[in-house]
Amino acid sequence: MRNSGYYSQFGGAFIPEILVSTFDELESAYLEARDDPSFWQEYVELMSTYSCRATPITRLDNLSDELGGANIYVKREDLNHTGAHKANNVMGQGLLTRRMGKKRVIAETGAGQHGVATATMAAKFGFDCTIYMGAHDVARQRPNVFWMEQMGATVVAVSDGSQTLKDAINEAFRDWVTNMDDTHYVLGTACGPHPFPEMVSWFQSIIGTEAREQMLERTGVLPKRVYACVGGGSNAMGLFSGFFDDDAVELIGVEAGGRGKGSGQHAARLAYDDATIGVAQGYKTFFLQNMDGQMQDTHSVSAGLDYVGVSPILSHLHETKRVRFEAATDEEVVAAMQRTVRREGLIPALESSHAFAQAFREAPEMSNEDNILINMSGRADKDIFTVADAVHDPKWREFIIDKAAAYRREMSNG
């Protein structure tokens, strides 16, 4: 007897007994919502009035010329309210939370993007909100913390373990096992126990549904290849799901290559061969773990891809070879970001820039009758501290040092 929520051998719901009824409730709420056409209608309506769905497709005119192969199109999730595809998932779960009659939401966040999105949704829906964030990430991502707090959310710095995303997830579960009666846990990606991977993918499928239609309308044909970065896998699942039935469309997931293959400092679970199958954070998938099953430290220039596990659905699609997995290194990613900014005026998040880097590598080998599509999962302007450090901008440092000096002066005067 196997629970539902399996994708070949991956997935499942490895949850503490105390959450069993909470997951039962969530699963039925989700299944009912899925069966109720008015729910999706309400969701689309919300996303097109509160955010700007359908998000457009932009052709990279200059880079398509410059790289000289395939025509490059970009799905503009960066234009979503709060600046990333994360908005799709949180607004969907917000509707579901209201449907379940719950009054409080909690969430984990790494880069802060999902935290800001959840805090935003909570403000909009009038929910109480607590965001768990690794203490390291709180220190690195103060701008996001600032906005979460302005939205009225409580941000809890988690100082356990590696003090990053996975620890924030554990801590969110610890909150949930105490407060499940009035609280919904808004998991931020297509990971975790069933039904999260499927449910989050469902909400994100709005990306792929739109994109397929838009590409057909715009170019008359389907794209030859479709690229998305893979952290937990939600933006990739969202875009890819629009093309699962189109066998001719190759799907490429791009993971964080960090300091490169063999460096041990990366977060490539499927593209490199360092990961093995395991069970943690409530689900079975490929994890970057040691032989005992202890999770390893990962590294990426982009906080949003810096995670030990990956969507069980993507592990399945990796095994069936429906999706090809690649990795882009920190260096390639920063270069791809800078190139896109300078030549196209788009500012892809460092996460999204992984997909750009891989697409730029492959486009020149393709025919200029081919079209390819990149998911721009988010914008980087909120990550200015990280980006300024990644490109080593000396004027930024000076600015921060001067600003700090001004604060210190004010404090000693006032």
Partner: protein, 260 residues
């Protein structure tokens, strides 16, 4: 609903003949180091503890609160491995004549290979396992292996469990039922009230296995409250908290005070 006899259940029933409420304690193997773990177990057994959970440390102890979480992390940092945990457990089962169980997360079993893990448990004298992130629906391989080895898979009742769910868990359990006294993770305050008594009697109605009660048990009063309502009181985080604040020496007086 015991489907097969286990040494664990037998020992518990035998001990209950002599004592109204048994005491189970919890340690994290390798915390603060393996030598200290060994000394703590020795002190506990001498103080009259009736059975013990040995936690094999895991990097993501999702169901544990801050005290045990930290103990897991520190054990790993000071070099705890699954291999050393097995060695230590074997040394303990040979040396002390009480039932020992493993408590750990599913990934530890999974990465070892479930059959291998269970048969090693059997060969070193571990009598049961508590795997808090493995509901029976996900654990058929594990349940099969445990049955084959005549070891006890212990499952957990919670205040959220319906009678139907309790019966289902009971069907998949051996040894005893671990009933948690409240929602939440290990190591927080529990109120020992009428509500708890009602809940425990529901638990009782839905299993014929011995009933252990954990989460928040830490004083003589708690023990007295539980007497007559359960078979085993579980002292989890509180032992580790004592270890942390008073060192290995503090453990014996703490247990003595509880069972006095």
């Amino acid at each position: 609903m015991a489907e097969y006899a286990t040494r664990l259940e037998e020992s518990i029933r035998a001990a209950r003949q002599k004592k109204d409420l048994l005491l189970m304690t919890h340690i994290v193997l390798g915390y603060p180091d393996f030598d200290s773990s060994a000394r703590v177990v020795e002190d506990m057994v001498e103080a009259g503890v009736d059975l013990m959970e040995l936690q094999i440390p895991f990097s993501e102890p999702m169901a544990d609160g801050p005290v045990i979480l930290k103990a897991n992390a520190e054990a790993l940092k000071s070099g705890a491995t699954v291999e050393r945990s097995f060695e230590m457990a074997e040394w303990l089962t040979q040396r002390f004549d009480i039932p020992f169980l493993f408590m750990t997360y599913y990934n530890i079993l999974f990465c070892q290979g479930i059959d291998k893990f269970v048969s090693r448990c059997q060969s070193i004298g571990i009598q049961g396992c508590i795997v808090p992130d493995l509901p029976p629906a996900e654990g058929q391989d594990y349940l099969d292996a445990m049955r084959a080895a005549r070891l006890a898979p212990v499952h957990i009742f919670t205040p959220n469990s319906t009678p139907q769910r309790m019966q289902f868990l009971d069907q998949n359990s051996e040894g005893f039922i671990y009933s948690v006294a409240r929602k939440g993770v290990t190591g927080k305050e529990t109120s020992f009230t009428d509500d708890l008594a009602d809940y425990l009697s529901t638990c009782r109605e839905n299993t014929s296995l011995p009933l252990a009660v954990g989460f928040g048990v830490k004083s003589r009063e708690d023990i007295e409250f539980l007497t007559g309502k359960a078979d085993i009181a579980v002292i989890g985080s509180e032992t580790i908290r004592v270890l942390e604040t008073e060192g290995v020496e503090g453990v014996r007086p703490f247990i003595d005070a509880l069972v006095a």
